[in-house]
């Protein structure tokens, strides 16, 4: 813009005196227009004569120009001042919209809200469905996925990661099947052999241990109380930590694959077993799944899952079908209480799954294992349980369940496992190092069960060892109809055992014999 000549600036700043007579009446006798005139000028409410008079004065009077500029700042200045926080202002603050609440910003919010409403309606009406039930995913997570540390058992025990208590969840395996069974039924049927072989090549024991890990908790999962059931349900209803879908998928696949590997191994190692071994459990599951409502069906699935830890290859498809059937039964409306009752009945009626393999069981954590087992079982209920339990109850229950589990974990004296060499392994702390116990090196241990300081471990040759001091001292216990008759003693490998307390327990051998005791191993009876 062209610069104003300096002389013009100078004369503008020092204008020649105007003829006072030419000023309007309201300006005569006064040096400056009053506030009424100035405000009227800015607001354009003066007459044209008055406006021109004020304008003429303003052109010559820098003070009045300054006054007008001060009194009527630019809108942006006013807007900036309106952003001053209310706390810095005095007096009563009248509500005013913050700038971010303007339409320019909120229009996106309106758009987002509209989309959210449409999506919510679509989900509500069933037009859209979630890709996977989050609770089912949770189930998979809390089961086989958590068992993944187990493959590390192929490494020396000292390097073993401490199995989390959740790794002993029993019904997680079937739950994993529940999710992964359908897609995996067809998929795994073709790929099963190759995977089994590769798994065996890189450390079949890991897969074995993982399967075996579900055995012991199954043994300790009997007779859950209703309260525990509710806690477990509530705990599972709590939002699970994010976990990639492929990991869930992996978990399900891994469980089924491991089960099949075990089956292959069982076929190879104990051909005689295949016909009779785990089938009682598997068979027990089938009618239950077929005839009883959801909870029982899931329990059946759970038992089936346990049974799968040493199943035969041909049983797998049947179990998958049962799992699918159980899932279908789940769709029927069953209240959580009813499910819990049914579960309790079923759990007390069912013999715990006894499987071949090395049982991983924390000694003093039988309750934990039981709870985890219940949790795993209850996880099968989740799809309906979450619908029927309010969010508040879920959160409160989940918190209580977590607290209880935490307390139980705190009371654990040790964690138990079976090493790759077939020795009993103990960890003093969760996540701590594992140490092998040389109880009897001639025995290849297969299963371990613990209840407080009472630890039971069984293995080859029908060897059953019992420790009452948390594994410091061990005593061999003979299994047989008569303790004095060595000839009649069990010599078959103990593939699974479960002790619900220091007195009551059951042992399953590879000969498909199930022995039970009610006096801490002094007397045994063959269960038909």
């Amino acid at each position: 813009m062209e610069e104003l000549p300096k002389i013009v600036r100078h004369r503008l700043a020092h204008p020649a005196k105007e003829d006072a007579a030419s000023a309007p009446e309201t300006l005569r006798g006064a040096a400056h227009p009053d506030a009424n005139m100035l405000s009227g000028f800015v607001e354009r409410s003066l007459s044209e004569d008055e406006r021109m008079a004020v304008l003429g004065h303003l052109a010559d009077c820098a003070e009045c120009r300054e006054l007008v500029s001060l009194a009527f700042p630019a809108p942006e200045v006013q807007a900036a001042l309106s952003e001053v926080p209310a706390t810095t202002k005095t007096g009563r603050r009248w509500p005013s919209w913050p700038l971010w609440l303007g339409w320019r910003t909120l229009r996106w919010g309106v758009l987002a809200a509209s989309v959210a409403v449409v999506m919510a309606g679509a989900f509500h009406s069933g037009i859209l469905k979630w890709p996977a039930a989050p609770n089912t995913a949770n189930t998979a997570r809390t089961t086989v996925a958590e068992n993944r540390p187990a493959p590390n058992l192929v490494t020396p025990p000292a390097a073993l990661p401490a199995p989390s208590t959740e790794s002993y969840a029993v019904s997680g395996a079937p739950s994993a099947h529940a999710q992964g069974a359908r897609p995996l039924q067809n998929k795994l049927a073709d790929q099963e052999k190759a995977r089994s072989e590769s798994l065996l090549q890189r450390g079949d024991v890991g897969g074995l241990a993982k399967q075996k890990s579900v055995a012991a908790p199954a043994a300790s999962a009997s007779q859950p109380t209703k309260e525990e059931m509710e806690k477990s349900v509530a705990r599972l209803a709590a939002p699970p930590p994010p976990r990639p879908a492929d990991e869930r998928q992996y978990s399900a696949e891994y469980a089924l694959k491991a089960a099949r590997n075990q089956a292959n191994k069982a076929d190879k190692d104990h051909p005689a077993l295949v016909a009779n071994s785990v089938t009682p459990n598997s068979r027990a599951a089938a009618p239950v799944a077929a005839n009883e409502p959801a909870a029982t069906s899931r329990r059946a699935a759970a038992i089936g899952g346990v049974a799968k830890t040493a199943p035969m290859e041909r049983d797998l498809d049947r179990k998958s079908a049962r799992v699918s059937e159980a899932i279908q039964v789940q769709a029927q409306g069953v209240t959580p209480e009813k499910k819990a009752d049914q579960l309790r009945d079923q759990l007390s009626a069912q013999n715990p799954a006894v499987s071949a393999g090395q049982a991983i069981a924390p000694p003093a954590q039988a309750p934990v294992a039981r709870e985890q087992s219940q949790q795993g079982v209850a996880s099968g209920l989740v799809p309906q349980a979450t619908q029927e339990v309010t969010v508040t109850q879920q959160q409160a229950g989940a918190a209580a369940a977590r607290q209880a589990a935490k307390g139980r974990r705190a009371r654990l004296s040790a964690y138990w496992s079976i090493s790759a060499a077939g020795r009993i392994a103990r960890s003093r702390a969760e996540g701590g190092p594992w140490s092998e116990l040389h109880v009897d090196d001639s025995v290849k241990f297969q299963a371990v069960s613990a209840e407080g300081n009472d630890v039971w471990a069984g293995g080859s040759g029908g060897a059953l060892y019992h420790s009452t001091d948390g594994g410091n001292h061990w005593a061999r216990v003979k299994i047989g109809p008569n303790q004095t008759d060595d000839q009649a003693a069990v010599t078959a490998t103990i593939v699974s055992l479960r002790f619900s307390d220091s007195q009551h327990g059951e042992v399953v051998t590879e000969a498909h014999e199930k022995w039970s005791t009610t006096d801490g191993g002094a007397h045994w009876s063959l269960v038909q």
């Binding site: 013009v8 600036r9 506030a35 003070e63």
Partner: protein
């Protein structure tokens, strides 16, 4: 701004001694009274009429037309003037000045926060803004001094502009007065630090021998419309932005920009023309226009003549 004046029909009523015609429609004031809602502020129709009479007298004079036609036309103008006032705010302000509780409650509800915001905008400092606003509140309430009757500043409001605009202007005036008074009270130490204490007094510039440039410039400036002069002063002297200037004048910024360029070019031409009328040729006129103002008062030729004379004497 209110539009649509009240009805001019009705029974005449005498409101002489004012800018209003001696015979005015009775319903006219009643309409304005109702329109202003003056009753809720505790003003009677007589009070309100008196206020209107005072405002009209101030801005339109007390002269009354002698002829009946002149009275009629003057009455119409006055009615239009009254209708253009911010009547409701005028009634509110005047009721406040009379001490009406209801009016004060309304006033504080409407303007308290606005007043503080305006004070913040003016002072741009929180404590100073509060002090400024509180001071104005005291003036608005009309604190009596030495037993003198209380005079509220609100009694000076005439309704020509909005009450908020008037309050803003009063606030700005108060701020300027305070700033100036405080500037006068700057201590000697501060003046010394600022270099103002011993500043040499500006010598009176010697009267310019050639006043043609000043005369031509003043003539050109006086020929400009008031709005153009305001535009130049606001933009070039005060340093206001074109947008700010345009807002005050109520025109668009781009219009202002074009106008400034046009005014500047026109002004140069007129000054040059004025100088040429006063005996300069174009080159001299252009050179004089671009000369430094400080050089204008220096008569080089006179100084040279003085120097030559001194040399001869010496």
């Amino acid at each position: 701004m209110e539009t649509g004046g009240p009805s001019l029909q009705g029974e005449p009523v005498s409101v002489s001694e004012s800018g209003l015609a001696s015979e005015a429609p009775r319903d006219f004031f009643r309409d304005l009274y109702g329109k202003a809602g003056a009753e809720k502020f505790g003003l009677s129709i007589e009070d309100f009429t008196s206020i209107l009479r005072e405002v009209t007298a101030k801005y339109r004079g007390a002269a009354t037309a002698s002829s009946s036609d002149g009275r009629e036309s003057r009455w119409v103008e006055t009615a239009q003037f009254c209708s253009g006032l911010h009547l409701e705010e005028l009634a509110l302000a005047r009721a406040c000045s009379k001490g009406s509780e209801a009016a004060w409650e309304v006033f504080l509800t409407r303007y308290r926060e606005k007043l503080y915001d305006a004070a913040r905008a003016i002072a741009q400092e929180e404590s100073q803004a509060r002090e400024l606003a509180d001071s104005l509140y005291a003036d608005l309430f009309g604190m009596s001094k030495d037993g003198a009757p209380r005079v509220s500043k609100l009694s000076y409001y005439t309704g020509r502009g909005s009450l908020e605009g008037w309050l803003r202007t009063v606030l700005a005036q108060e701020y300027v007065n305070r700033y100036r008074s405080q500037r006068r009270l700057v201590s000697l130490e501060e003046q010394t630090e600022a270099g103002a204490q011993f500043r040499a007094p500006a010598s009176d510039p010697a009267p310019a021998l050639d006043t043609r440039l000043e005369t031509a410039t003043d003539e050109a400036l006086q020929a400009l419309p008031a709005e153009d002069r305001f535009l130049l002063a606001s933009y070039f002297l005060d340093g206001r932005t074109l947008a700010e200037t345009a807002r005050i004048l109520g025109v668009h910024e781009s219009t202002i920009s074009r106008r400034v360029e046009k005014i500047t070019a026109t002004l140069r031409k007129q000054i040059v023309a004025g100088l040429m009328r006063r005996g300069m040729n174009r080159a001299q006129a252009v050179e004089a226009l671009d000369a430094d103002v400080r050089d204008l008062s220096l008569d080089v030729a006179a100084r040279l003549r003085e120097g030559i004379a001194q040399d001869k004497d010496g």
